[in-house]
């Protein structure tokens, strides 16, 4: 996983709530067996509308998505995260995320940033009035800065997830440090528990 320390970029304001993972990447695109190329399917249905925000030239090249509450609800498809990163996004800012999406994002190097609704709205306003507005997401400081708009907002992320993201660590490698404990646990499991074989 690519480490995430701090990122500065322009943003896309997505003024929609309940953006479910079926919108982020429709099921039709989930048949691929690799992790690559999902950006092509990002918001595929909505992108057919020329006025959709991702199609507006002033937002081309933006790397931060600023969305409404309950972003990434629904299906567990990690392909939604892969689609966002493949398209070029490094962070998504929203008031609340679907649990599985948020976990998937932190496993695949996309930073989910939770900010209050009023702050998210202020960021969207700032980006809409000046699409050149640069936003910095500083994971070390756990803060979002949009200096030109006078916004500086701290965000919460637990220490462990922050450390993993900043180091770009692989969870499996971390867990395998405890493999002896896993083996010991297995020896303690009741014998009547089911096996699939």
């Amino acid at each position: 996983m690519e480490p995430f320390t701090t990122h500065t970029g322009r943003a896309v304001p997505l003024r929609r709530t309940n953006v479910d993972t079926d919108q982020i990447i429709p099921a039709e695109y989930l048949k691929r067996v690799s992790r690559a190329g999902f950006g092509e399917g990002l918001f595929a249905a909505w992108r057919e509308d020329p006025s959709f925000v991702l199609n507006q030239p002033q937002y081309a090249g933006a790397t931060i998505l600023v969305a409404g509450t309950d972003f990434g609800t629904g299906s567990s498809r990690e392909h939604a995260v892969w689609a966002l990163t493949d398209y070029g996004f490094r962070a998504v800012i929203a008031p609340r995320f679907g649990d599985i999406f948020r976990t998937n994002a932190t496993k695949a190097g996309l930073l989910p940033v939770i900010l209050p609704e009023a702050t998210v709205a202020a960021l969207q306003d700032a980006v809409e009035s000046d699409p050149g507005t640069e936003i910095t997401v500083d994971l070390g400081a756990r803060a979002v800065l949009a200096g030109a708009a006078g916004i500086k907002a701290p965000f919460d992320l637990d220490d462990y997830t922050r450390w993993r993201l900043m180091e770009g660590l692989d969870d499996i490698g971390l867990t395998l440090r405890h493999v002896d404990k896993v083996t010991a646990f297995e020896l303690s499991r009741p014998t009547w528990l089911p096996v699939t074989a």
């Binding site: 691929r32 067996v33 392909h79 679907g98 405890h178 014998t191 009547w192 089911p194 096996v195 699939t196």
Partner: protein
């Protein structure tokens, strides 16, 4: 708008004061604690996973990751696979139906590649697979309970958000992404942050004609699609106790639609009777030991929850969705809402968008909404009781000429049981299509789809834009409402016939 659901919310959860002994624990907390392999201050708990279910869509990249790191599957004997999401539900001639060439029902080469990848991965890593056409094949969340693999007190994961289904048997079961699938394959564990606890207590009894699907739709409408975010939900109360195991599976299935990764019901005699004698349930002395363990699982009397919601089941009526998320639901007897009636600006904007997508006008009676497709099936409502409920409505009736109705059993075993009861004959005599098992029209990634502009009454779990096919419009309903709707051609309950 919804008088049936009253909330008494409490934020009374207390931390254990030091030196005052152990506080009571909830069912989910007991399961959690029994599975902690490693815990340390400032880290997520490392949980042992008792059962890992896999399917073709969310697993190929996980197996690639294992190969790239030269890792093995730690416990293939705790892992089981099925082909469900992208396989067709017609042309399934039986075991060994070919994946390619003459006689293959799979026409999409990309789908074929994905199923081939699952078969190759299962063979390489020694995982039991129920392929298309196999008597044990079916939707992953239907076959787990059916086989007796889903048991009280287990931790169960799958790369699918509807894994919450398995909580109906008193298991802690939740959906995960592909990176986590790889983690479980490699280590049989998963690092997890401890969730908050929510109790949803359903008092009273469901009136005649009101089903578990109506109950869960009413719950989601009340707490919203994000209401359960960060929580594990325990469904409690006399109306939940009175549900059959299949009804509980329907309720727990849609926990994720309220934002909760997991939902569960404390095991009781209904659970034990359901499990006894199933192929993977314990037997003999093991059964007695299991029963003893299972009976200790229900939450302690002094256990507390971070949030409590209470409903009166007696006030519920059949529910249907009108919008594009599962929280946008109302009693069938009501009308399409006016977006202007929502005080919250986000909800107002979402309702406006939803009505535009759904092509509905405010004030239209929901019973006046005509559909062209009825889908009976999915991990929500594709079990035998669901098929019986719909067949009970259709027996001696014909579906409207304008309607295409797909009946898709949740597993090949459900299909066989339904045929043994003659339900298939009821459906085909009524004019419906009787299919083989799979996810089918629930998710629009196999040949069973809505065409742009088509409108369905669907017993599945998601009414998102394009969920059942690009441009398709979905109304979520119970099996009974689906059957009545098929007869009349517009949203209807059996009592309307």
């Amino acid at each position: 708008m919804n008088t049936a659901v009253s909330e008494c919310e409490t934020q009374t959860r207390k931390q254990t004061p030091e030196g005052e002994g152990v506080m009571g624990r909830t069912l989910a907390e007991k399961i959690w604690d029994a599975h902690v392999v490693h815990s340390a201050e400032g880290e997520p708990d490392l949980l042992y996973i008792d059962l890992h279910l896999i399917h073709e869509v969310t697993s190929p990249q996980a197996f690639d990751g294992l190969r790239a790191a030269s890792r093995k599957v730690r416990r293939p004997d705790l892992t089981i696979a099925t082909e469900d999401h992208n396989v067709p539900t017609t042309g399934i001639t039986g075991p060994g139906v070919p994946l390619s060439g003459p006689g293959s029902p799979v026409t999409d080469p990309v789908s074929r590649t994905q199923v081939e990848a699952l078969r190759k991965n299962c063979a390489e890593f020694g995982i039991r697979l129920h392929p298309m056409g196999d008597a044990g094949q079916g939707i992953v969340h239907v076959i787990g309970p059916q086989l007796g693999l889903t048991q009280p007190g287990l931790t169960i994961v799958c790369g699918d958000s509807h894994t919450s289904t398995h909580g109906a048997l008193g298991a802690l079961a939740f959906g995960i992404g592909t990176s986590e699938v790889e983690h479980v394959l490699a280590t049989q564990t998963l690092p997890q942050q401890r969730p908050k606890m929510m109790a949803i207590t359903v008092n009273g009894a469901l009136p005649d004609g009101v089903t578990p699907k109506d109950l869960i739709l009413a719950i989601i409408a009340k707490i919203g699609t994000g209401g359960g975010q960060g929580y594990v939900v325990e469904y409690r109360g006399p109306a939940v106790r009175a549900l059959s195991m299949e009804g509980r599976l329907t309720v727990c299935n849609m926990s994720i639609e309220a934002g909760a990764r997991a939902g569960l019901v404390a095991p009781d005699d209904v659970t034990f009777a359901y499990l006894e004698g199933r192929p993977h349930a314990p037997s003999g002395a093991g059964w007695e030991r299991a029963l003893e363990a299972w009976r200790s699982l229900p939450g302690d009397d002094d256990a507390t929850f971070d949030r409590e919601v209470t409903l009166d089941a007696g006030l519920l009526t059949p529910y249907v969705t009108w919008g594009t998320n599962p929280g946008q639901a109302l009693p069938l007897a009501s009308s399409v809402p006016d977006p202007g009636s929502f005080a919250d600006p986000d909800e107002r904007a979402a309702a406006s968008r939803a009505l535009a997508y759904m092509d509905l006008k405010p004030g239209t009676a929901l019973r006046d909404v005509s559909v062209d497709t009825v889908f009976l099936g999915s991990c929500t409502n594709g079990r035998l009781e669901d098929l019986r409920a719909a067949a009970g409505v259709l027996r001696g009736r014909r579906i409207a000429p304008s309607i295409r109705m797909l009946v898709v059993p949740g597993s090949m075993q459900v299909r066989a049981q339904a045929e043994a009861e003659g339900l298939d004959a009821v459906f085909t005599a009524a004019g419906a299509e009787w299919r083989a098992a799979g996810c089918s029209m629930c998710l629009g990634m196999n040949p069973d789809k809505l065409a742009p502009g088509e409108r369905s009454a669907s017993t599945s779990n998601r009414n998102f834009e394009g969920r059942q096919g690009k441009g398709g419009r979905t109304h979520l309903v119970s099996p009974a409402v689906a059957a009545a709707t098929a007869v009349t051609g517009h949203l209807a309950a059996p009592a309307d016939l």
